[in-house]
Symmetry: C2
Subunit: 209 residues, 2 copies
């Protein structure tokens, strides 16, 4: 292992240990001491990589932001219709979060920055807007039932995804998030889609892309 | 005003001021100093009524618990079918929360005790179980579409209600919670109900019972 490899491994170990604490306890109740104990590292080793707890949280938030961009791009490249892409992205997100505490912590940290901090521009509204673009495109293709409001659909899906994540996180460390998100999609999509619409693309729970 | 009336008014003023802070900031970031400043009271007046910040939070949680019991009972007395009662209770809850910061704070405090505190028996699972009893009863009456899983429906509705409340709270102090919850119900119920099922009972947004 080169020195660079070792530095990279230490940085990843810090991120992983911090993610485990943030995921369980949230930002405010996570202590640097607990993170160091979990990673088996000294304060010196930590501060070589990150100036503060906040900097680790920022790195985790940034990593999830990058991942969502990749997930969106991978579904764009599959060329499926917008609602199938939306279904695929929600399901894949849940699969990845159930499997990866680093991602899960980043998502929690990002969302916690909003909820209960009035006046902060909301990540949730940003997600609703993004989801709405897919549903609007579906409407333009004739994939929606007449009279369905695309923005209302986006609000319902984003709310249900947020609530599912929180309940799943509090009760099963997100282990049942994949099945919960698929239940939500199964309860909403048949209601809003035109009879001819069919789900396409790989949607298997065991096959996150 | 008798002394008893004045004591009652002070206690309510404390609950209201504390609710405003808890609703905005959550339990941990709410300071007693801010609550006293908001209520225009001294520490002495506060401690006459409550031994601690925790005791005020407990009173707010208890108040919302009592209210939900009343709401359930009032819908039981209307004698509508279980899914109409469920619709009515979700809508009425949102209406009441949008209008009443004391209730909203109690709900937030109660839910915050769960999310992110692993191992605490979950209020969310308790709500899911309660909602499921209505959906199961609907299934037994033939109000559900064949193949619909009542417990999955309960999970979807509770998730969407939680997410709606959090997003609405973070962005509009719950002002749009009534419309958000009705959107959720409108996107889920037609999907899961038998074609013959129809909503009954008063469901008006302007008419919380």
């Amino acid at each position: 292992m080169t020195q660079q490899d070792r530095a990279h491994a230490t940085r990843e170990a810090i991120l992983h240990a911090a993610a485990q604490e943030f995921d369980r306890l949230g930002y405010e109740r996570t202590s640097l001491t607990a993170v160091l104990a979990r990673a088996g590292l000294t304060k010196g080793a930590f501060y070589f990589h990150f100036p503060s707890k906040e900097a680790v949280a920022d790195a985790l938030v940034e990593r999830q932001t990058e991942l969502w961009a990749q997930v969106r791009e991978s579904w764009r490249l599959r060329g499926v219709d917008p609602l199938s892409a939306l279904h695929g992205m929600f399901a894949e997100s849940a699969d990845r979060m159930a499997a990866d505490v680093v991602l899960r912590a980043g998502v929690r940290l990002n969302a916690d920055r909003e909820v209960g901090y009035p006046g902060v521009p909301s990540t949730h509204l940003m997600w609703e807007k993004l989801v709405a673009t897919y549903v609007i495109e579906a409407a333009e293709r004739g994939d929606l039932r007449p009279g369905v409001d695309p923005e209302a659909v986006a609000r319902t899906l984003c709310s249900a995804a947020l609530g599912s994540r929180l309940i799943s996180s509090a009760t099963t460390e997100c282990a049942d998030f994949p099945s919960r998100i698929r239940e939500v999609l199964g309860h909403v999509l048949p209601c809003i889609t035109a009879p001819a619409w069919e789900l396409s693309g790989s949607q298997s729970a065991s096959e996150p892309a």
